[in-house]
Symmetry: C2
Subunit: 353 residues, 2 copies
Amino acid sequence: MVKRIAIIGSGNWGSAIARIIGQTTSQHKDTFDSHVKMWVYEEIVNGEKLSEVINQRHENVKYLPGKKIPENVVAVTDLVETCKDADFLIFVVPHQFVAGLCKQLKGNIKSDAQGISMIKGLALNTGAKSGINLITDEIKSILDIKCSVLMGANLAHEVAEDQFCEATIGYNGTNPEEEVILKKLFHTDFFRISVVKDANTVELCGALKNVVAVAAGISDGLGYGDNTKAAIIRLGLMEITKFAERFYPPSNLKTFFQSCGVADLVTTCYGGRNRKLGMAFAKSDKDIKTLEKEILHGQSAQGVYTAEELREMLKQNNAEKDFPLFIGVDKVCKKEIKPEDLIEYLKNHPEHD
Amino acid sequence: MVKRIAIIGSGNWGSAIARIIGQTTSQHKDTFDSHVKMWVYEEIVNGEKLSEVINQRHENVKYLPGKKIPENVVAVTDLVETCKDADFLIFVVPHQFVAGLCKQLKGNIKSDAQGISMIKGLALNTGAKSGINLITDEIKSILDIKCSVLMGANLAHEVAEDQFCEATIGYNGTNPEEEVILKKLFHTDFFRISVVKDANTVELCGALKNVVAVAAGISDGLGYGDNTKAAIIRLGLMEITKFAERFYPPSNLKTFFQSCGVADLVTTCYGGRNRKLGMAFAKSDKDIKTLEKEILHGQSAQGVYTAEELREMLKQNNAEKDFPLFIGVDKVCKKEIKPEDLIEYLKNHPEHD
């Protein structure tokens, strides 16, 4: 039986990955149904329905203009229709929409369907375990399905240009055949996949790197050079590893050497909007919301909000002193301390003891 | 008995570290003799002897202008005079001078003296074991002393500005007291030291990162974006870990998380002259020597030569296929393949199997 694929989301990253999924499912017809459905949140773009533009001209003119989406990927505006027959549900939407979409899907998908989350972020935990929640845990808990993740140093527009890059799939199952299928679904000549059995760590890397990028931006904004930035990136990486080991054990140190780990962290700390916001914040008296409007055109710098959630969780676990970078970023963003004080905090990092 | 320190070298990095050593030896008078000797290769600068300028005005006007060298660091032009009573010899000279200096010191130092190498590079092995040699092995074999290393993401001029950064000491001894002394000698409020018992790995990181930086520069020169560069940095890191495990076992994966590892690698791949040369090489038809003259003002891009030595060594060990980045950099620099072909090589990296 060939596997059916549904892509939930059709923004910039969703459209870029649709190019890959369209290719791999056509290439491996013995493994996949090459008819792929992609859920599109309907919008009117220049007087036309986005879903119709995608199905007629095979291009997402709003979110990935100029790049062809393979004809075997079909835009569907009904979420349940998109997913009801699918064996694999690829989640690639902003994290705040996940719970709502899953609730719509509940009871309307195959019982042995599996999820793959490409969402870098965290959910707020509303259950007994306070603080943060993994997006995959949110998906699993609502839909009662298995859920893997795909993360890496993957700027969507570069992936859409077929530039060579790598990504990491975190798969916690025990079925070697499934592992092979997952790799086949994403692996192309230029998009190179490694599969590791450490899904939580892969997902945490994708979420926590943004906090480190805010700190790297603060350092840049204060005028510090390469040495200080390198120290911040490294100390941030150590806090991510420590967080994973402590709150989501077991975590394998080797996972941090994958694209999801050090590669994505570095890229985010040298480019990306979290670093940009941190830099602007350190240089001005404006608050975060104002800067998001002014320099991020209203997009949010996820690292700022992740830091807030982390601090709350670390406080409840009496672990604040072990994570001075995570805590410091929240304190700076809330103007409880000055940007310069973050650097002072890091000079006394427990890593140096 | 307080420990006496000799600094062998007084260039940019030597002078920056002299500022730190002057401070720590004054601060810990119970541990160190605060009278520190620094060997200066005598030069005439603006009609004055460099050693006399340093001793009178406490500034290395040629290699670190504008920064005060503490008065307890005294410039000495006689190498044996500098080192004969020292308990710790800090080597901070260009790698090609190490053997010659050690030969001058042979028989003229304390029998229980120890070395600390701050030199990032490799020596050519002239013995039975062909290929490369660690600088510390060179020092040990000529002087018959123990030798530690200090490496990290440490641009000299930023260290001289007291900007916060980190460094790693690799110490392979078994004496906890010595470990404490080594840390005391370098650790300040802004220059933060971690000591690990994995000196070979620390040293290899400092030498091999330059090869990866040439590859990163080639990618930049070809116009590839952040994703490809991140993949190159990561694959380079994987080759460094594999090289250390295979040729200098045992190597601890945790060491790569230190400043000497991922931090120094990243800094070198985003700045630094190896990356600069790789970028220029990918964009022009000129050969390496011409570009070194034109854009590096005659300085050499160490990564190019390290890649050549590595390739020879890997060939002799029949291990070329496991290190496509190291091998590819040498092939590109010798114009055996085009810069674009390096990227093709990496798309089929054994890491993706």
